[in-house]
């Protein structure tokens, strides 16, 4: 059975699941769990962003805007108005998807730098609104967000739970929850890519002219993938808000948007598992570089530059090519 799975198209998903299953062995304290849970939520966001950037070849420098909108929709609906978490999450995603559709229709006609500028502006506008609508959002000071709850059952990082008779802490429960969310997000992305819709999206990247003459409505598919990636961001923003318990407009900031796009580019555009690696590396680097203190940002920038110069395809695709070449050479040597 496992052998069959390893042969199939879901091999990567199985490996990811195994890694997530084994990972707790190496996680020593709540801080580690917190970091990995954040990684999983952000990784799921960039898996969605990668559908737009890596597969359909359109850029968005404002995706934190959608992430922030999801986070604040959840914060306001559950915190201020007492909605249950799941309806808030779903309605938030629908609203954000609708906003992305309205905004996307005019700006997706643009290409390259112009599209970058337009999406950048969208992100800025959202961040400015979140900063200024103090009555709703608490302004720059941020706002508290209640714990995630389903049917009266609360998932709090500070609670303690029992899963199949095993006692676990709240931060471990969140880790499990975020892992499942990431796996589902990846599964949806893989299914989408390997389908007629996915081919149409990739053809928009490969050759828009070729796509249109075989009947692909390129404008429609660009809108569709823009909305899907925004919905991914919104859903993950909602979960992030619940997990953090407190949000500030920083979740919608330009820096966050750039971080997302860097994860995609660094990990490997158009590689679903590559961008997850990108998210992991970019979340880990600041921790590792903390020892360098004031040189931290210089080191961070240097590593990014060197990676882009020597691995322009991104981390995972480059490593895959490297190892498959070595394997082939080894196999050739033995024959």
């Amino acid at each position: 059975m496992l052998n069959n799975l390893m042969q199939s198209r879901l091999r990567g998903l199985v490996i990811l699941a195994l890694i997530l299953l084994i990972l707790p062995v190496f996680l020593g304290n709540p801080f580690h769990y917190e970091l990995v849970t954040q990684m999983a939520i952000i990784a799921a966001t960039v898996v969605g962003l990668n559908l737009l950037v890596g597969f359909a070849g359109q850029i968005s420098l404002g995706h934190a805007g959608f992430f922030g909108l999801g986070a604040y929709f959840t914060g306001i609906a559950t915190g201020t108005y007492g909605w249950p978490s799941v309806p808030a999450l779903v309605v938030g995603a629908i609203v954000v998807g609708f906003i992305a559709w309205i905004v996307g229709r005019p700006i997706l006609r643009l290409k390259g730098h112009y599209l970058s500028m337009a999406t950048l502006a969208v992100g800025f506008i959202i961040a400015i609104i979140l900063n200024n609508e103090r009555a709703l959002t608490g302004g720059p000071d941020g706002m508290p967000v209640p714990a995630f709850e389903v049917f009266g059952w609360e998932l709090s990082a500070f609670g303690s739970y029992s899963l199949f008779g095993i006692d676990i802490e709240g931060f471990q429960a969140w880790y499990i929850f975020a892992s499942v969310v990431l796996l589902v997000a990846v599964w949806f992305a893989l299914n989408l890519i390997e389908s007629p819709i996915g081919r149409a999206l990739r053809s928009v990247h490969g050759s828009e002219v070729a796509a249109s003459v075989v009947g692909v409505n390129t404008a429609k598919y660009k809108s569709l993938v823009f909305v899907i990636s925004a919905v991914y961001a919104s859903l993950m923003g909602s979960l992030y808000a619940h997990f953090q318990g407190f949000i500030t407009p920083a979740v919608a900031s330009f820096e966050f948007s750039i971080l997302f796009i860097t994860m995609v580019v660094l990990g490997g555009m158009g590689s679903t598992f590559g961008v997850i690696l990108g998210a992991v590396v970019l979340k880990l680097l600041p921790q590792v570089l903390a020892d360098f203190q004031e040189l931290e940002h210089v080191m961070f920038g240097l590593i990014l530059m060197l990676t882009m110069i020597f691995m322009p395809k991104g981390l995972l695709p480059t490593l895959t090519i490297f190892f498959s070449k070595r394997m082939r050479r080894k196999a050739g040597g033995e024959a």
Binding site: E194, G206, S207, A211, V213, V214, G215
Partner: protein, 252 residues
């Protein structure tokens, strides 16, 4: 019998340059109809106008009696028109067979829900599309490349792949823009067989081509363009004997 493609008084100006000027002709269903002319005569511009990539400055194009003026290229594809390009348009970020399967886009409508959960209906349709795409690749003569990345294929193979993609859409009329350009003699002979096979199966073929031997051999009718205007129109025999054409193009 009504014409499948009818062009009336077509004009396309880029700034002050008239790339196509006052061109009229009609293509009957089932014909192999070729457009020839020296470089810069407006042949590719004409194809771009017919397939909706350019908007005419003046004039009208009818596809099966319907005006194409307001239709996007993808809407023309829905009405049975497909094409290849002189500057090949292949999705280099996909494998060979995925490129051909892209051609079946219009036959493969599936909802987002079906897609996200990869329901059995989608898997069945995908398997059928893959089988059909593999057959078409065999048919055009690049069957050995199935899962090869398009970016790793030779020029000649990509030219055939582009035809397979166009055929995958099951068009009523297929426009081939210089399919023989860059091919050697053996490949050109294979291409001639292929075009004849396509025409024999009832698909109308419109062809822009420089290879005179190829064009004269397979065309039912020819349109000769020169500086954007129609120089002559007729059967290969008529064209061969037309003094204007001989002077302007065939060079005696």
């Amino acid at each position: 019998m009504t014409a499948l493609v009818e062009v009336k008084g077509l004009d396309k100006a880029f700034g002050g340059v008239h790339a196509v000027e006052g061109v009229s002709f009609s293509v009957e269903a089932g014909q192999v109809y070729s457009v020839i002319g020296p470089n810069g005569a407006g042949k590719t511009t004409l194809f771009n106008l017919i397939t909706g990539l350019y908007t005419p400055t003046k004039g009208e194009i009818l596809l099966n009696g319907e005006s194409t003026a307001k239709l996007e290229p993808n809407e023309l594809a829905e009405r049975g028109m497909c094409r290849t390009f002189q500057q090949m348009q292949i999705c280099m970020n996909m494998t060979a067979i995925e490129n051909v399967m892209l051609g079946r886009h219009l036959q493969l409508r599936s909802s987002l829900f079906t897609t996200l959960f990869r329901l059995p209906s989608l898997r069945r349709n995908e398997a059928a599309a893959r089988k059909r795409a593999a057959e078409l690749m065999e048919y055009v003569g690049c069957g050995e490349y199935l899962d090869t990345d398009a970016s790793a294929m030779s020029y000649g193979a990509l030219k055939r792949l582009e035809i397979a993609r166009a055929l995958a859409a099951e068009p009523r009329v297929i426009l081939l823009d210089e399919p023989a350009a860059g091919l050697n003699a053996v490949e050109t002979a294979a291409l001639e067989d292929l075009i004849r096979k396509i025409a024999d199966q009832g698909t109308t073929v419109m062809l822009v081509e420089h290879d005179m031997k190829l064009v004269m051999g397979i065309s039912d009718r020819l349109l000769v363009l020169n500086y954007g205007r129609v120089l002559a129109e007729g059967s290969p025999e008529e064209i061969r004997q037309n003094p204007d054409v001989i002077a302007a193009y065939l060079g005696g």
